[in-house]
């Protein structure tokens, strides 16, 4: 029996027919002169606007990118073979947009918002959100003041991320960039269960289809798909789809942000998006610049990342936000945020290449991953020395700020001294103590994949490290100590952990931590 949708019941159809006014009016058209490599040149369409969606004969959609005196350059949002020379192109008078809604949660979609996971159409109410939209103005923003916990010790302690921040994850291939992003998504599960969700949007650009399938499976296994949307433009999609993917992702994130909720968006990765944009620009015969990227490659990323913001909590002001789409005007609430984690892949650790330097300067900090550390078993392979978070410190919970205050400096000092000791020179007791503490802290900061910790657990274990409570524990057994210590605290002192998680920090709590750590460390003494 064929599937009958509720929307196809006769009465509903009749009502729809009643409302269907048969209006006949002139449409603006053009003719395809030339089509190649995902770009069509169209003669006609004189009144078409930049970024307008146009429809080709046969239903393929395209976006107008180049307006020249004698032709219009249109990038195709479908296969090049579907458009032929001589085809008619119609204006839609709509700016390229995506239909966003709660029904997208748990789904895998493409740049046009169509599901590609085989689970049927997207359900629920959807709202039209433009792909290109101006970022909120200054008066509609609020400083970053709420933490976004990644559950990773190294990040939450030393490079804290706040809601509304843009924090770049940068590193060579195979250094664990995506792993950090996935762990961050998985760590939002508790917030979702507590009824304070941070909706996650993972945008995969130019990746293999199998990589996306694996990622979705991982998220499903950890129960993270309930609050996550995966938007994918794989390597086999046209270049236009790949370079529009982040814009489609942020348009969905804006739906959550502007309705007073929190969203986290991951762009994996923007270097591939830049390459896709370069391809389209060169086919459109735009003048190439450095590394053959077009002149507006900086603006491509800056206007995208500027849309990540913390919105003012005052509803009245938020409702007057600039460039609000009509579809959500009556639903706007303040206090929402978009936190962006763009990913950039470097070649041989070269952060001074064109795209990395651009994105570093746009973002509010970067997490730099090194293959040397990764291969040495330090995972996540974060180079603490050059990783920074420019605004996240304000959002860190008080207890974390207190315990981790000196950690970054200690570790940077340790790395420097460690290099010296490799020459085999004699070292004094003070230096040795810095080295001992540093080595143990490195062990503490190591963390397995898909094993995020709560804020309270992070505070407790980092307290032990920064206060030298692990001096008696052999370096090789630090992880064992950590596991036992956290188990012990969870069983014996859940109240202490709860308070630490809420940001409380006082002598009573630290006494408990110190006492328990010392007792446990004594059992590890050789």
């Amino acid at each position: 029996m064929p599937d009958i949708k509720p929307s196809e019941i006769s009465n509903v159809l009749k009502m729809q027919l009643d409302g269907f006014k048969q209006k006949l009016e002139f449409e603006e058209i053009g003719k395809v002169l030339q089509v190649s490599d995902g770009v069509a040149r169209v003669f006609g369409l004189e009144k078409v606007q930049s970024n307008e969606l146009v429809e080709f004969e046969g239903g393929t959609m395209g976006v107008v990118l180049n307006l020249e005196e004698d032709n219009v350059g249109v990038v195709l949002l479908g296969p090049t073979e579907s458009v032929k020379e001589g085809f008619t192109v119609k204006r839609t008078k709509r700016i390229a947009s995506i239909m966003a809604g709660e029904g997208m949660l748990g789904r895998v979609i493409n740049v046009l918002g169509e599901p590609i996971d085989g689970k049927g159409p997207i359900g629920g109410e959807t709202f039209e959100m433009p792909l290109e939209r101006k970022a909120p103005g200054v008066i509609f923003r609020q400083p970053v003041n709420e933490p976004l916990q990644t559950g990773l010790k190294a990040i939450d302690a030393m490079i804290p991320i706040g809601r509304g921040q843009r924090e770049l994850i940068i590193g060579d291939r195979q250094t664990g960039k995506t792993a950090i992003a996935i762990d961050t998504i998985i760590n939002q599960k508790k917030a979702f269960q507590d009824g304070k969700p941070i909706y996650c949007i993972y945008v995969g650009i130019g990746q293999k289809g199998s990589t996306i399938a694996n990622l979705v499976q991982t998220l499903e296994e950890h129960g993270a798909m309930d609050y996550t949307i995966v938007l994918s433009a794989t390597a086999s999609n046209p270049a236009a789809m790949q370079f529009y993917a982040p814009y489609a992702g942020v348009a969905i994130a804006e739906y959550f942000r502007d309705t007073g909720r929190h969203a986290l968006i991951i762009y994996d990765d923007l270097s591939k998006q830049a390459v896709a944009y370069r391809e389209v620009s060169l086919i459109l015969r735009r003048p190439p610049g450095r590394e053959a990227y077009p002149g507006d490659i900086f603006y491509l990323h800056s206007r995208l990342l500027e849309r990540a913001a913390k919105i003012i909590s005052n509803d009245r002001v938020a409702r007057r936000m600039n460039d609000l789409p009509d579809s959500i005007k009556d639903k706007v609430k303040g206090g929402g945020s978009i936190t962006a984690l763009p990913i950039i892949e470097t070649k041989a650790g070269d952060v001074s290449a064109y795209i990395p330097t651009n994105v570093i300067s746009i973002t509010d900090g970067q997490i730099f991953l090194e293959s040397g550390l990764f291969n040495a078993g330090v995972r996540p392979a974060i180079n603490v020395g050059i990783s920074v978070s420019r605004v996240g410190g304000n959002a860190q919970i008080k207890s974390m700020k207190k315990v981790a205050g000196t950690l970054k400096l200690d570790q940077a000092q340790y790395r420097e001294l460690e290099a010296f000791t490799k020459f085999g020179s004699e070292i004094d007791a003070a230096t040795q103590s810095v080295l001992d503490k540093g080595a143990r802290n490195v062990e503490i900061l190591k963390q397995g994949q898909y094993a995020p910790l709560t804020a309270a657990q992070l505070v407790a274990i980092i307290y032990c490290g920064t206060n030298g409570l692990l001096n008696d524990v052999p370096v090789a057994r630090v992880s064992e100590f950590e596991r036992q210590f956290l188990d012990l605290m969870g069983v014996k002192h859940p109240d202490v952990l709860e308070q630490l998680g809420q940001g409380v920090y006082n002598d009573t709590l630290t006494d408990v931590l110190r006492k328990e750590a010392e007792t446990l460390a004594a059992t590890f003494k050789q």
């Binding site: 269907f20 603006e28 058209i29 003669f43 006609g44 004189e46 004698d70």
Partner: protein, 179 residues
């Protein structure tokens, strides 16, 4: 570089030159023929853009494409001029822009009626009269038969389309119902 400016500049120069020599109408016919051939013959623009192809071969091709021996003197002269300036790759756009410019200056509009079956001459005359009366311009009318539109007709006037076909109505209904 903005390639879009090249064709309009050449087209404007050609129009003014042709007007001075009172050959604007003949050049219009040649340019229309050239644009049509370029659209129909695949590979023509690729050949013209190929630097390895000889000048004389390109000239012969352009002359054949614009009407062969029937081309007027101004057109022949212009084709050689374009080749001297190495702008032969833009020739299709120049031809299109010239035709557009000529129609603008002479208040002519291009009309095309698409129908599922052949329309009687009387109906076509009525449509032409309708456009003439409403737009106060003369119309160059052409017809096309496309059974895929099922019934009704589609009227194209330059860049505007009036879709009164059955297939168009069904498509609109489909879009409206959200399928």
């Amino acid at each position: 570089m903005n390639h879009g400016k090249i064709s309009i500049r050449y087209a404007r120069a050609l129009y003014e030159y042709a007007l001075e020599h009172q050959e604007d109408k003949a050049v219009y016919a040649d340019m229309q023929m050239l644009a049509r051939t370029a659209a129909e013959v695949k590979g023509m623009t690729v050949f013209l853009a190929n630097p390895a192809a000889g000048r004389q071969d390109k000239l012969n091709l352009l002359q054949e494409a614009s009407g062969g021996k029937k081309t007027c003197a101004t057109t022949r002269h212009f084709l050689e001029f374009v080749l001297d300036k190495n702008r032969e790759s833009s020739m299709q756009m120049i031809a299109l822009m010239y035709a557009k410019l000529y129609r603008e200056k002479n208040h002519i509009r291009l009309g095309q009626v698409t129908s599922a079956a052949e329309l009687p001459a009387r109906t076509l005359d009525k449509i032409s009269a309708f456009i003439r009366d409403n737009y106060h311009v003369s119309v160059e009318m052409s017809t096309r038969i496309d059974p895929a539109i099922i019934g009704g007709f589609i009227l194209d006037i330059d860049d505007n389309r009036f879709d009164a076909s059955i297939s168009g109505q069904l498509q609109k209904l489909n879009n409206y119902a959200g399928h």
